[in-house]
């Protein structure tokens, strides 16, 4: 990042895209050092939404901590829940019954689609295409209706319990999911007609916020942001958890690692998730929903690190237990927190309008960053 004196050696203009700025996804303040239009340095100030989730983890029992996790990454609440429940099950040495595993995978993939739809809507809105936002939310509404019918809540779903799932499938479930999956790929093609070949969209996203694969790994990027730079790494394939090994789907990766690649990667991921859901709906086995475990969960002394592929990246749980009913230390590795570090590198040298595009492409959620 060149620290050359500014063009007319006028002092840099420090503009702060403050916490209440319309296009930062949540309460993030970015202090920009501008030389005219060009960004010299971007420094993120976070912590406005800090609720001490990890301290809560130490003062709530394992079962009670699950709803608090839904409020961490409120857009992909189901994958937070899945990651934590699986970590505790691994500690207890039990596995959820196959029916519960299938329901879990199905719901997590639907949640991935909602998270990507919200990303697409807000990202396109920041760059000016207003209608994509409305179309994306229309599809998202369908999935939220499925969640509401299944577990009673739309966003903070608290769907799974440690040891399996709490709710039986309601009777209209299969065909509601099938109708959604049947016409969803066509809808994704519609978003693509509006954006992918649009010369304004191409101009605004190609070559913006490019990052090489090596630099991405070093800074710790994960998820679609990393796959945009060409690294073919997805925890669902690398270390299959739940019953992901039963489904075949492929991992889209980009080539140059700029905003356009990450956009294409996420659009492709939505189609792959729809593929998984369509396979999962057909093969849900019968059987119990919850594994046999005592009412009060007391995992043995020890610690565990378990990570899953949340829509934003690698979501890891590091839990230390001292044998009591409450975790001794519940550490969450949030993907958005680490991805946001890359903003500084990606934005240097670009225009102010690109800062907005790069924040959109990193797909950050402030609830997860500030914990």
């Amino acid at each position: 990042m060149s620290t050359k004196e500014t063009l007319f050696d006028a002092s840099e203009l420090t503009v702060s895209m403050g916490p209440q700025h319309p296009s930062t996804h949540g309460v993030l303040q970015v202090k920009l050092k501008l030389d005219g239009e060009r960004v010299i340095d971007a420094e993120c100030v976070i912590g406005y939404l800090h609720r001490g989730v990890e301290k809560l983890g130490e003062n709530q029992t394992y079962g009670q901590f699950v709803p608090t996790l839904d409020r961490m990454d409120y857009i992909a609440a189901v994958s937070n829940c899945l990651g934590y429940c699986e970590a505790i099950e691994k500690m207890l040495g039990i596995t959820a019954p196959p029916r519960a595993q299938y329901i879990r995978v199905l719901m997590t993939e639907l949640n991935r689609i909602t998270s990507h739809l919200l990303w697409l809507g807000t990202h396109a809105l920041d760059i000016g295409a207003m209608t994509v936002f409305l179309y994306a939310f229309r599809e998202r509404e369908e999935i939220l209706k499925i969640f509401e019918n299944y577990c009673g809540a739309r966003l903070t779903t608290h769907m799974f319990r440690i040891g399996g799932t709490q709710y039986e499938l309601y009777e209209g479930f299969e065909d509601q999911v099938r109708t959604f999956i049947k016409d969803f790929p066509k809808k994704v093609d519609e978003y693509e007609t509006l954006l992918t070949q649009n010369r304004i969209w191409i101009g605004r996203t190609r070559g913006v916020g490019a990052i090489t694969a090596k630099a991405a790994i070093d800074i710790g990027l994960t998820g679609p942001a990393l796959r945009g730079s060409g690294v073919n790494w997805d925890i669902r394939k690398a270390k299959p958890y739940a019953v992901y090994s039963d489904f075949e789907f492929d991992i889209p990766t980009g080539s140059t690692g700029d905003t356009y690649d990450r956009y294409m990667v996420r659009m492709e991921e939505m189609r792959q998730s729809a593929r998984i859901v369509s396979q999962a709906v057909e093969k849900i086995p019968a059987g119990p929903l919850m594994a046999k475990l005592s009412k009060i969960i007391k995992p043995p002394v020890g610690d565990i690190y378990h990570s899953i592929e949340s829509p934003k990246g690698e979501l890891g749980y590091y839990i230390v237990s001292d044998g009591s009913t409450m975790a001794y230390r519940a550490r969450v590795r949030p993907p958005s927190f680490v991805n946001l570090q890359a903003l500084k590198q990606m934005v240097a040298g670009h225009m102010v309008a690109d800062v907005v595009a790069v924040i959109g492409t990193l797909d950050i959620v402030l609830g997860e960053i500030d914990r």
């Binding site: 709530q60 079962g63 009670q64 901590f65 699950v66 709803p67 608090t68 839904d70 409020r71 209608t131 179309y135 229309r138 509404e141 209706k145 509401e148 019918n149 299944y150 577990c151 009673g152 809540a153 903070t156 608290h158 319990r161 709490q166 709710y167 309601y170 519609e190 007609t193 509006l194 992918t196 070949q197 649009n198 010369r199 304004i200 191409i202 190609r206 060409g230 492929d250 991992i251 889209p252 990766t253 980009g254 080539s255 356009y260 690649d261 294409m264 990667v265 492709e268």
Partner: protein, 156 residues
Amino acid sequence: MIVKRPDLSFLKKIFFYDLIKGLLLTFSYQRPSENYTEQYPKERAKVAERFRGAPRLNNDPVTGETLCIACNLCALACPEHCIEVGWERDPAGKKALTTYTFDLSRCMFCGLCEDACPTPCLELTQEFELSLYGRRDMKLDRQQLEAGVQPLIYTK
């Protein structure tokens, strides 16, 4: 599977092919049948049957007195400590419920109390219009809980 990066042929660029394709799509969505908005106060939202809304203490349909056995399990299960159960021993030695307060302002509708309740007494209804005028009204006592939170219907 490498993601493809389609590019515009020169000819398409001249005749604004991509821009016109976008225009036609937005034009095609103007049919009123495609409309998605719901006029909230007039058209009521269709709430799912398992929706976790305001809590209610169910009574025994036959005898009419409460099903609650004052076991205090729901108060322990609640992460937000919203529930306080008051009970005293009746002559037969069994616990009888006297007071039951539920602090709606702190509740996050996670449903843990509903799971912990051994009898079908505590239930989260489908009521989602919970805005009240004071924090004090948020602490529901037993009578309010048994009657369920009455929504004030928007009349205009």
